[in-house]
Point group: C2
Chain length 201, copies 2
């Protein structure tokens, strides 16, 4: 049923594989998702996958990079929203938390502890760099706009750390379920911005 796929067709097949893989990862975890099961859902044998990805690790890396890109797109879109810096700040925070809870598997894939920092694909490295640069840039903008005080780089990391820490603790079930996450996030943001916004809440 196949002779000579075009480059676009190959790219499509690879994307389709990543989509199936991500569904399996969301359900069974990265380790629980098996090449055989993914291939079966493609109507294939496991061996066929190796024509498109050199190994399961490579497939996981690619799926992870794709998740990173979706994450970065969300943040970037929020950062391009109108309004002053305060509104932009809230939009980015919202986008961050929204993504994490809308696509928990993707978020976990992105921020999972990494086993072997060394042998990551260039694709994944680039996706990670983009996300990091985005977060740092927006926080630096906030510092320059006077929302945050102190050294921009320090604050950037602290700001990111608060968002990430809250999301992770929430996902791990370590936050009091009685406290709505949104309220919590705004509390943390208020802590970090060292005071209330001039007007409005």
């Amino acid at each position: 049923m196949a002779v000579l796929l075009t480059k676009e067709q190959v790219a499509d097949v690879r994307q389709k594989i990543r989509e199936v893989a991500e569904r399996h990862i969301a359900r069974d975890g990265p380790q629980g998702a098996s090449m055989r099961a993914i291939a079966a859902e493609m109507g294939w044998t496991a061996a066929s996958l190796y024509r498109y990805y050199a190994s399961k690790a490579a497939l996981l890396d690619a799926t992870r990079a794709a998740a990173y890109e979706r994450f970065s797109n969300c943040i970037e879109t929020a950062g391009q929203s109108g309004g002053d810096m305060w509104e932009k700040s809230r939009a980015i925070g919202d986008a961050y938390a929204d993504f994490a809870f809308r696509e928990p598997a993707a978020y976990q894939l992105i921020f999972a502890f990494e086993q072997d920092e060394a042998d990551k694909s260039a694709e994944l490295r680039a996706a990670q760099a983009r996300a990091g640069n985005l977060m740092t840039r927006y926080v630096r903008d906030m510092v320059e706009a006077g929302l945050l005080e102190g050294d921009a780089d320090h604050i950037a990391h602290a700001y990111w750390a608060v968002l990430h820490g809250l999301v992770v603790l929430q996902m791990a079930g370590k936050l009091d379920p009685a406290l709505p996450f949104d309220t919590l996030r705004h509390s943390a943001a208020r802590l970090i911005t060292r005071g209330a916004r001039p007007s409005g809440h």
Copy 2:
């Protein structure tokens, strides 16, 4: 070589297994550590392990619970240190970060994303509850001492989130290596405490 081990001996064997398991987990990750390899280091066959732990998941859970206890002990010791609330606050933050970087594998085991929240052992649940209560209690003390402002529960989670977020981002290599972690942590703490300590830095 064995007939009727005493309860203490069984407990010792189980602890020895956990120690070996933790070494393998630190080297190969939770999935990479194999029952056969752990058993081999004990001078055993894999099947023997099942006399002491019902499954690999049970062994991982027990190892995780043990790591939790060591973590809680560190925090608790720091919390019992002398000095005023400011010094205690710093001691706890130091203890937290110290533990994370001294035993990264244990820290990662503790705070790894959980696959199946449902079927955790009672032992693990208890260890998790103890750690959570410890962190919340100390932060509540800080609020009452005037170090932190706002609702104690909210701040407790935000405070924890900052520490955890910083540690995780640092471990994931997402923090600028040029920024010393300690400086970063103090910046974050200063952000959260809404101002400088009255005297000293």
